[in-house]
């Protein structure tokens, strides 16, 4: 299967500090890839390089077929991104947010119109289309933010702790959206602090002190580390960290 992300010895140094230390991995098309690590392990820095927002110090990487050194603008056009802090404009309506994002990604008016209807329908937000985003309940915002992040049909979407603070029912509805997107061939690259969500990923990598210490399916990781749950796997690995955020 096609690899949508390829990283080889990808490294980022800040003066004397190596935030990301020669990480290598591949992510396949349509895969749900969990990117875990303790605070300070280097996840955000790695993600910023893959999104074309930060120049690597050394190593190689390509995202959606584009090089992270030379083709950062192409990367940005071909990925979606959503973080815990909403990527939505609170003072725009639901519909305006979609029009705005469709517009900056250069989509045609007919594409935007059709897709907007599709998303409103799917999220059952038809009656909220003209409401300001700030008036929506949090769970709806989160689902809308995800739909907006994949509005332009990117080949990969980066989700940075997308479900932080969300109620347990909405959290599961959110994961249904992730599964659907993956079934349509969108690759999902997701970070989370919820260890049960690590179980929903096809494969999971765990970063410790800037390095990828483990990478496998959740089942494979539990076997390797003789652990009962992903929580145990994570604790076993992350406890070894020397530069944990503490």
């Amino acid at each position: 299967m096609e690899n949508v992300i390829i990283a080889e010895n990808l490294t980022k140094r800040f003066e004397h500090f190596t935030a990301v230390d020669a990480i290598s991995f591949e992510v396949k098309k349509g895969e749900i890839f969990g990117f875990l690590g303790a605070n300070g392990a280097g996840k955000t820095t790695a993600m910023r390089m893959l999104c074309g927002l930060s120049m690597p110090s050394s190593g190689k990487a390509s995202v959606a077929g584009f090089d992270v050194y030379r083709q950062t603008e192409d990367i940005k056009r071909n990925i979606g991104y959503m973080s815990q802090k909403f990527s939505l404009y609170e003072d725009l309506t639901v519909k305006e947010n979609m029009q705005f994002y469709g517009g900056i990604y250069g989509k045609s008016d007919s594409f935007i119109k059709e897709k907007t209807e599709f998303v409103l329908n799917k999220l059952h937000l038809e009656n909220e289309a003209k409401k300001l985003v700030k008036s929506l309940p949090l769970g709806w915002k989160q689902k809308l933010a995800f739909s907006v992040a994949i509005f332009h049909e990117p080949s990969i979407v980066f989700l940075d702790e997308p479900t932080g603070g969300v109620d347990p029912v909405t959290r599961r509805e959110f994961w249904n959206l992730i599964y659907e997107a993956a079934e349509q061939g969108i690759t999902i690259f997701v970070t989370t602090h919820y260890m049960d969500e690590a179980e929903y990923c096809n494969r999971v990598s765990i970063m410790v002190d800037g390095k990828i210490e483990a990478l496998d399916s959740p089942g494979g990781l539990k076997q390797t580390f003789s652990a009962q749950s992903m929580d145990d796997v994570f604790l076993k690995l992350a406890r070894k960290a020397e530069r944990s955020d503490n």
């Binding site: 303790a38 347990p168 599961r172 955020d245």
Partner: protein, 306 residues
């Protein structure tokens, strides 16, 4: 003795056109020395509640007292005796670690030496960095400094608003260990969190959702109130298993739960019927068993019932 009493607390935001009721007649009380958890997602009203109890926000209805003092009339007395750690880092970024701590000690008319024994275990971990500016600390160190500053005047009640949000699993465990030590010092602790699994670390918890308390009890009591039989199920294809189980007549509710799915069984149905149903859908490597619910199961069930 009850250290915190809240009766029918109401808080509203916005104007008449777009009014949001953040707290809808919330009532609960906390015993002296108790570690009390307020568990709920973002938007549940946790921060509004803490700000009212720490006298930083006026309620629109109801009464509340802390240590016997009224949160509206006696706000000055309350401020002397509570420690408050807001969800957002609120110390002085341009002061050093030691300066921040000395500052908070001074405004409470005490000194670091006077209460050092209380913060020693926490503060000693960041003391090697005492000349570093607070803004330059890592997240975990900021959290320890904020907790030290909230404790330096030896408060009788400590309010911690989402201290573990966005914190990784290892640091979360460490933080809860620190709370257990503080509880031993006799300090009453109110802590809010969106992480359901942290409920089991509290003496009692209030589960809260969109401004309403769903249940208040000990963690064991909340679990004991879960009436239905709960099953966990897995097979080789988890996604199709979830879709299939939703069609099962005996399923009150079905949802993903880590490596298993959880199925809340309706009365009159048996585990054998569930297994027969799964096999009829051609699943392989089936594994179905009865499990004890955890707080998250209870929260989901209470949310759907309300």
């Amino acid at each position: 003795m009850k250290t915190v009493i809240a009766e029918n607390i109401v808080k509203k935001y916005g104007d008449k056109k777009a009014e949001i009721e953040a707290l809808k007649k919330v009532s609960f009380d906390v015993e002296q020395g108790e570690l009390f958890g307020i568990i709920g997602p973002d938007g549940a009203g946790k921060t509004s509640l803490f700000r009212i109890l720490t006298t930083l926000l006026l309620p629109d209805g109801g009464v509340a007292s802390v240590d016997g003092f009224d949160v509206v009339k006696d706000f000055k007395s309350i401020r002397q005796r509570v420690g408050y750690m807001p969800g957002r880092f609120s110390l002085y970024q341009d002061l050093t670690v030691a300066e921040n701590l000395a500052f908070f000690a001074t405004i409470f008319n005490t000194s670091i030496n006077e209460n050092y024994d209380l913060i020693k275990d926490i503060y000693s971990q960041i003391e090697p960095f005492k000349d570093r500016r607070a803004g330059k600390l890592s997240g975990g160190m900021k959290q320890k400094l904020a907790l030290s500053c909230a404790l330096i005047h030896r408060p009788s009640v400590l309010f911690l608003d989402e201290p573990t949000t966005g914190v990784d699993a290892v640091s979360r465990k460490e933080f809860w260990d620190m709370l257990k030590d503080l509880k031993r010092e006799g300090i009453t602790i109110l802590v809010s969190t969106p992480y359901m699994d942290e409920a089991s670390l509290c003496d009692r918890v209030a589960l809260i959702q969109t401004g309403e308390i769903l249940s208040i009890d000990t963690p064991a009591g909340i679990v004991a109130n879960f009436r239905n039989q709960l099953l966990s199920a897995r097979s080789a294809n988890m996604l199709s298993l979830l879709k299939d189980l939703k069609q099962f007549d005996g399923a009150e509710d079905v949802y993903a739960f880590g490596e298993y799915h959880h199925l809340v069984l309706k009365e009159g149905f048996s585990i054998a019927q569930v297994e027969a149903f799964i096999l009829s859908k051609n699943h392989t490597q089936m594994d179905v068993k009865t499990v004890t619910p955890v707080i998250e199961d209870c929260f989901i069930s209470l949310m759907k019932a309300s």
